[in-house]
Symmetry: C2
Subunit: 362 residues, 2 copies
């Protein structure tokens, strides 16, 4: 029977209750060094009685289960991933698992090192928003699986990697958003946050090719943009696609460039929050108003978007649900429920506010 007090007992208290020295209790509970079976029994009984939290490492040495999930995310400063991790940890906690998070800053080498650490720390499973662009770059993920650690991808699938991936409907959501801009009368629609290349692809197939060799979500969103143009029988104009570094500053510079074209865009589709704020900076610098002069739809919805003037029409991602679903799929694998790996696609929500209007006359 565990005691009901909320502060956990110290090792010294367990040692006193077991009638052994503190170092004996520490060795037993820490799972290191030698302790005679007799003393070990007494310490463990006292620990249980006092409600001492069993040392996970000691437990893992006897049962092979450490009861921790490892999560590797691309950018801890992005609230999107904050929501995903929250979903994962809520689902994990409900099963008595703790969640260890590592952030890679979109750097594949950091992701490899993070995977190594999680293997070393003997986590029971790994959820990763991978920066790997294809299976050839995902040797570290294969290495974890080789050691019997289940892995689930979140936010991004990795081309050629036969693994469960929990993602949103990036392509459909983008196609739908751009179709709404077209339905409002727009024929010149800028795409903000394109492939991070120096040379602007001039031909559509080059653009698709470049995009497919970059981050999966970005590629999918670009495809949705092109789908909507196709649906409306509109031609793709390479000048309306941002290229270069994926930063707020470069989004501002690229939108400023687009707004300076002979026939500038009358609407913008932004695939990230920083793309939205960068676009708004460029519009302000050019003296243009949201909706009245240039319409805008963006990923992801936030509290800020709702208090802008006018409030911004945004695509909301089910961030918590992405996390909980990824955890559920991982737990099924940890518990040995074999199922063929597949893409689990969750749906975004289109949050209509006031940043879309007909293009200005003239």
């Amino acid at each position: 029977m565990a005691s009901e007090r909320s502060v956990p007992p110290t090792i010294s208290e367990v040692a006193a209750a077991a009638g052994v020295g503190r170092s004996t209790a520490a060795r037993t509970l820490g799972g290191y060094g030698y302790v005679s079976p007799e003393l070990r029994e007494r310490v463990l009984a006292a620990a249980e009685h006092l409600g001492y939290r069993t040392n996970a490492l000691a437990r893992s040495m006897s049962t092979g289960v450490t009861q921790t999930l490892g999560v590797i995310i691309a950018d801890i400063a992005n609230p999107f991933f904050g929501g995903v991790v929250r979903g994962i940890s809520d689902a994990s906690r409900a099963r008595g698992f703790e969640t260890l998070v590592l952030s890679t800053h979109e750097d594949l080498a950091e992701e490899v090192a993070a995977t190594d650490v999680l293997i070393d720390k003997r986590v029971d499973g790994i959820i990763v928003a991978s920066a790997a662009l294809d299976a050839a770059a995902a040797g570290h993920i294969q290495q974890a699986r080789d050691r019997g650690i289940p892995v689930v991808l979140v936010d991004r699938a990795v081309t050629g990697l036969a693994l469960d991936a929990v993602v949103i409907d990036n392509r459909d959501a983008s196609r739908d958003a751009v179709a709404r801009l077209i339905a409002a009368g727009h024929r010149r629609i800028g795409f903000v946050w394109g492939p991070p290349v120096e040379d602007r692809p001039r031909r559509r197939r080059d653009l698709v090719d470049v995009a497919s060799r970059n981050l999966w979500t970005d590629g999918e969103r670009l495809q949705g943009y092109l789908d909507a143009l196709d649906d409306a029988g509109m031609l793709f104009d390479p000048d309306l696609v941002m290229v270069g570094r994926k930063t707020e500053e470069n989004a501002e510079a690229e939108v400023a460039r687009m707004l300076g074209l002979d026939v500038p865009p009358t609407a913008l589709f932004c695939t990230e929050n920083d793309a939205v704020t960068g676009s708004l900076r460029a519009m302000r610098a050019a003296g243009l108003r949201v909706a009245a002069d240039v319409s805008l739809i963006g990923f992801d919805d936030s509290s800020w978007a709702a208090v802008m003037e006018p409030p911004l029409t945004m695509i909301e991602q089910p961030t918590l649900a992405l996390g909980t679903r990824a955890a559920e799929v991982l737990f099924a694998a940890i518990e040995g429920e074999a199922a063929a790996p597949r893409l689990h696609t969750l749906h975004t929500r289109f949050v209509e506010r006031s940043s879309v209007a007909a293009p200005p006359v003239g």
Copy 2:
């Protein structure tokens, strides 16, 4: 000599190069099970030649150093903590340490469990933004220290706990911001994000007492607000302080209440991002404009604040520097450089934009 290819070798490749079976290589590199000294030598030589990343756990078994820092933050969905973690991991990585992050959602029980996990995973040091209000609630932190794990507090000091804490100048920054509102002519200044209590403290000393028993940063920011009123010889009005749950929705409700007072506030001081957006919602619902009708200054600066109309005057926290400094202080402790624990205070930056004006006439 390590090979130069970027994909790390697999265990199978190391095994082949060493001329041993895969399981022998796995046991050697994983640091578990028996391997003869001779084969072990061969595996380690092959691993080094191929650039196989030494297994940290195996390393820790021989050296006692796992080369990982543990970080416990209050809310992973708050970009402020994202910046802090980024600073910590940049500083750690420069020393060859990996960073494991756990998020507690401001829940002390989760913080205790997280500390337990980090002890179990044998991290070399812990940085924590603690939800503990005083030393009596920080038994888990003491437990980590009892086991020889250095701990550094970040963002929040814990009353009565003699530990290094890396924080910002919450009280001075708040005093300065409110003084600027007073200098602009405001005499009725609302404080948004007050103590999370149901009953509104009517007397100043009750408010201070309640605040001091709540989150350290919140208490410090309230003290700064009161300091500025004192400096100007202004009386504190309990009706101008938000109470209740610390959510965007409650901030909106409390500001709506303040704006409905017989003598409403002409300015608001907001201590969190969600307090800012909640305030803006209430102002919009009341048909009031930022600056022209109600002035506003808030914590923390963000890309969104700069693209609002008008752009918001905000206090910017040195989030990266908080993280790097906390890591530096922790590394000094890990390396045994004894120094008396103290408060390390970093300075905020006042970012002046256009949300402060003189109060409307009449």
